[in-house]
Amino acid sequence: MSKEIIRVEELGKSFGEHQVLRKIDFSVNRGDVICILGSSGSGKSTLLRCINQLETQSCGKIFFHDKELGRTQREINEYRSKVGMVFQSFNLFNNMTVLKNCMEGTRKVLHLPKHEAHERAMTHLKSVGMAPFINAYPAQLSGGQKQRVAIARGLCMDPEVLLFDEPTSALDPEMVGDVLKVMKELAQKNLTMLIVTHEMDFARDVSNRVLFMDKGYIVEDAPPEKFFTAPEHPRAKEFLSRFIAG
């Protein structure tokens, strides 16, 4: 199997007149932990949503294992089952318990037998420290707990890549730590991750690559050691100076 999982070529996205993404080129290799940084409105989340096909790109191509992504619903469903997503607003299913949330995908999409789906759900819920809450409904959990369940739900699908769209932005500072700790453990287990975040320390310590976006372009693509000490692009310098000053 090749090292490259996803490759994005000349990707662009516009909403009406407004161009959100321009000429995006990059690839994700197995084991990569890539943090996407940039100020609000620079297109980070849209890029992630295009990769997951929750938004359809206006131009350009996405390749999965060197094969261009198909456009039929069936092809997209299958692709999504291998490329998971964790959202800023968690998006746990409100009508299901924590346990059911983690079994829905494996039962309905992967068609695993019930005991196997259950076993998988328990394994991942334990790893994020949420196993005691299997009977709870999302509304009964705190934000940090919800996000850890959402991560477990994503992991149950055994994805090749897990996308994180600002996973800690809706959490209060105390809970951010819990979620980042879980993500750090995942990085150590070599899960391939693509993370849109504002957590600079996390990006510096955990990622192996940083993409910096500005006005819809990726203006810098560098290892964190280089990005955080010697950024090249003026916007990246400005962005970092504010972070260091703050």
Binding site: Q73, Y79, K82, N91, A131
Partner: protein
């Protein structure tokens, strides 16, 4: 007759007793037509509501797009037609229309048919509103797992939407219970028509209609309680049980 009633109260009681079999049959038919019509109408409403909410994926093949497009068009025409005309007129057109085209449909079945078609049109809009009320994140969460849009609809969106529209379903049902009275125009012997008959003999219309007003009131009260109970049941429990057997690893 030994005890001729002397005032309206006595007349109400007299007529209720004397024509009890008419009122019982009327109550039964009112219930039969409204319950059957409403339940079938709810089913139709769900189907139409879901069809209207379905999006056409422009990258799907032409057959699939064609079928979905046609179903959406038919749904729209249906909803507009039945929301835009009075039920009493629909009853006439359906009943006489079917008869004239050679289908010997009896008034009761025609009544059920009209009720279900009318309910379906309103219900479709209610269902659509219910679907729209569910946060888009619920759908995205399911799609991101690789669930198909249809599976997402049935497993994630509808169960939540259903809960939200139960009060509106109760409303629709109570409305129908009373709206069946217009079906007297096609000869369904529901409560209204029975009251007309019962009142005619002694020329005591006021008293006769008071009897059925009371019956409608009791029926509506009972059913609104039943729906309140369903709603309460669906709200679910406030507490959950910690699975203490997995407690050791958490803080």
């Amino acid at each position: 007759m030994t005890n001729t009633p002397t005032n309206s109260f006595e007349w109400v009681w007299f007529i209720a007793k004397k024509y009890s079999d008419l009122f019982i049959r009327g109550t039964w038919l009112t219930l039969l037509v409204s319950v059957t019509g409403t339940i079938l109408g709810f089913v139709l409403g769900y189907v139409v509501g879901i069809v209207q909410d379905t999006e056409i994926n422009k990258d799907d093949n032409i057959v699939k797009r064609g079928v979905v497009g046609l179903m959406k068009a038919v749904s729209t025409v249906y909803v507009e037609l039945f929301r835009g005309t009075p039920m009493i007129v629909q009853a006439m057109i359906v009943f006489y229309g079917l008869r004239q085209s050679g289908w010997e449909i009896d008034p009761i079945n025609a009544g059920i048919l009209v009720t279900l078609l009318n309910t379906g049109a309103y219900m479709a809009e209610t269902v659509r509103a219910g679907i729209k009320s569910i946060d888009i994140g619920q759908r995205e969460g399911a799609l991101a797992l690789g669930m198909s849009p249809i599976s997402t609809m049935f497993n994630i969106i509808l169960p939540q939407a259903f809960k939200n529209i139960v009060p509106e379903m109760a409303n629709t049902f109570l409305t129908n219970l009373k709206m069946t009275s217009v079906l007297n125009v096609i000869g369904v012997q529901e409560l209204f028509l029975q009251a007309k008959t019962a009142g005619g003999t002694y020329y005591k219309y006021l008293e006769s209609y008071l009897v059925i007003a009371l019956i409608y009131l009791v029926l509506c009260f009972v059913f609104s309680r039943v729906f309140a109970l369903i709603e309460k049941k669906m709200a679910g429990q406030k507490d959950y049980v910690l699975a203490v057997e997995y407690m050791e690893n958490t803080q």
